[in-house]
Symmetry: C3
Subunit: 357 residues, 3 copies
Amino acid sequence: MSNASFTLSELGQRIDAKVVGDPAMVISGLATLQTASEGHLAFLANPAYSRFLASTKAAAVILTEADSKTFLGACLVHSNPYLAYAELSMLWSPFNKPSNAVAATYIDPAASIHDTAVIGAGAHISAGVVVESGVAIADGVRIGPNCCLGRDSVVGANTHLYAGVTLYHGVSIGADCILHSGVVVGSDGFGFAPSAEGWVKIAQLGGVIIEDNVEIGANTTIDRGALDNTVIRKGVILDNQIQVAHNVVIGENTAIAACSAIAGSTTIGKNCIVGGASGIAGHLNIVDGVHITAMTMVIKSLNEPGVYSSGTGVQPNAKWKKSIARLRQLDKMAARLKTLEQRVEHNTSGIQQDKQS
Amino acid sequence: MSNASFTLSELGQRIDAKVVGDPAMVISGLATLQTASEGHLAFLANPAYSRFLASTKAAAVILTEADSKTFLGACLVHSNPYLAYAELSMLWSPFNKPSNAVAATYIDPAASIHDTAVIGAGAHISAGVVVESGVAIADGVRIGPNCCLGRDSVVGANTHLYAGVTLYHGVSIGADCILHSGVVVGSDGFGFAPSAEGWVKIAQLGGVIIEDNVEIGANTTIDRGALDNTVIRKGVILDNQIQVAHNVVIGENTAIAACSAIAGSTTIGKNCIVGGASGIAGHLNIVDGVHITAMTMVIKSLNEPGVYSSGTGVQPNAKWKKSIARLRQLDKMAARLKTLEQRVEHNTSGIQQDKQS
Amino acid sequence: MSNASFTLSELGQRIDAKVVGDPAMVISGLATLQTASEGHLAFLANPAYSRFLASTKAAAVILTEADSKTFLGACLVHSNPYLAYAELSMLWSPFNKPSNAVAATYIDPAASIHDTAVIGAGAHISAGVVVESGVAIADGVRIGPNCCLGRDSVVGANTHLYAGVTLYHGVSIGADCILHSGVVVGSDGFGFAPSAEGWVKIAQLGGVIIEDNVEIGANTTIDRGALDNTVIRKGVILDNQIQVAHNVVIGENTAIAACSAIAGSTTIGKNCIVGGASGIAGHLNIVDGVHITAMTMVIKSLNEPGVYSSGTGVQPNAKWKKSIARLRQLDKMAARLKTLEQRVEHNTSGIQQDKQS
């Protein structure tokens, strides 16, 4: 956390919150209710944590109107404390820039920049960066150490590439994006034709389009398209170690958690949420507003919004072994059940007949 | 896609296809039937797309003899259009080299090459590359920016390492391989002996042998062997983010899709296909010709060729919860079924006896 | 394997083993029983391999007292041959350093070191390394090529970062750690607040604390905390491609196999073992001594030590399809079973009444 500090009044103005308590109080950082100490601003977004409110050492707390009524200390009253916390958090980010500052362009002497590359005003290019021919880097872009920007790739304004990001040739990244370390964009899709002599590689001739305001987590990989492009629409957030195969399209504001894999040519709609370590097979269509829980195996298109799941969930090993054994006996159990139904049907009929006779 | 262009006749000759239409027609790129425009060559490999044939704007289409009979436009007639497309695709790759060209050796001044390293004719070493002592780089090798080749590693002729590949010491890569960005070859296997004071590391003293014509996807990791080598046989294709543990052996022409993990000392045969996000436990043997579908959990050796699967597949969350609850009741259900069978057996017998008495 | 060689007597002394055979015998390497040749020391740790003992070409073998009694060749007798092998293996590691050697500090001219960074005695900084402001590198640290150490990060004594490791700003790594290539420590946790305009990023203001003697496998990612720290306790071993989300805490000597993912704010106890490709949901608590088998989906806290599992395990595809179809019919099967029980109950009662009447 940076060393910035603000008055409670300043913070209240930023999030349009009512200030309760001394407006001149100095806030030097953010913290949870449990770990806050002197000078910290905390927040209460989840009722499960309300038990920590009475004893918090925070100087002030972001609260809803309702919660503020029973709280005796200083607070910022806001309809959505979690969103308010998110908005204020950026003030303490070490990468926060004053919005009206125009930084000087910096190109480290240990970067290798091709003569034909174009670098915008206020860009920051770190040591070890390699920028190939025809690259266009817009204003205010930050490129961390040892990144590689392949031929004719494009990076939009104020986008931040952390250390060790690789963009292949002809990849396009929008404005205000964040790509974390180890991200690879534009590697070849997994396309091969079988032949009698083995696999014949299909040149991957498409590109990757990443629109504005996308965040991509560490070591995530996004393959280039075979002929058309792989596309990540604006506002998408991707966590770490996600695999996006060739010709996938991910709709606006969709969020995908870590270690998920999306196979080739699948389209995911807008405003979807994909839980961690999920797998989505290729050539499927997932409509807008689908929520897939963690570790789900998606092997068919999902044509209706809603929550979807798969998997069996953890059990003690001994019970699990029994469950699995039973699962494999299910076919036989179903047959036994049917036999029994027929016998009971027959017996009952028999008994009825006996009685009637 | 590069700006190359060819006549229809030239393309037909390359794939040994019959040319229907103007042999002098100029083809400037490849496209799908749906997205093709002027000057594009398209192909029809999958009957699901034949509905796009009549309305395609492609200048020409690669078709089977049968499909060509009903098509009115120009075409290249080939017994395997998908393979023909694969073979032609490479003509538009930006990395395509004229087969008879001898490129000059290039070593970027911002590369660090140890005096004892040997670099072949026509090799291209980019900025930021670090080549340690005793490394041998064969003719025509391309090393992208910021790669690291550890001590005594070997790279075969015409192999291409994209930016940011790491080879540990003593690793051997064959000829005509492609390693995508973020690949790590030769990291330590996960070998530790338990002791009263915690885990004791076992030095990983084996190497990694990757044979010719292997492609390895972005951010895939291949560990070195504990004592013997980890081995990837010729023609193997590995997608992104695959984990190959120490002492694994993968047979010729086996294809493994993204995010799969193969645990230590497992042997996979030739011509296998492993679907994405599958896991294969350690010390197993998978014979030639096994096909494992995506997200399968392989916890025993597979001794017969064939198709194998596991997992439960996606359901709406509410139905999934019921399925899982029922799965856990299966043991009780089985017991109830048995009781019922005994009662019905008894009752029926009883009834029979009643009747007989 | 390095070219070191030792007498059998020297090796015996190092592991406190009884020497049987010529103490002056020269041992030039380690090998398995099956692959050993002249000059090799092998070991027998797993009874499954005892069949190779009689025919091994090893010069000597590490054996238990019991196994040594029937063996005619030279041996080192030790209560725990696997641990003894682990301890001796390090003698042949190419990175093994004589314990009393004080190496000269080396900083490659192609490294970029900020003026304010502090570098300890005997540190080795390779080409292409970028060390930002305020970084503290302790004595004996090895930093491989193209690593990046972000602002104010700290690396403890004798820790080894292989090529291409990225530490974000303010990350702390302990002493005697090993971080393999492609590891990313301190990337932003996946924290966003939903709003009407899309996701609002929450600045990740916590750090990462990695204690002493931790090993982290290739391409593993460890996110920084949102407000508090992500913590990896001493002696933890993490395999390749593991994802550790923000605010996770992993207890001492816990081992996690490749491709596992641990979601945010989950706490894992001491001495746990997590099998490969497992997923652990967020905000859970796993107590000390839990063993989770490979590919398990952990969606609840585990409050008792023991072995836990999930998943259905591989089947031939045709049988799998039946199992899955039956699993989805389970709810109906349960209803049919209940109906049948009621009918049989009723019939039996009816029969009893008939008999009594």
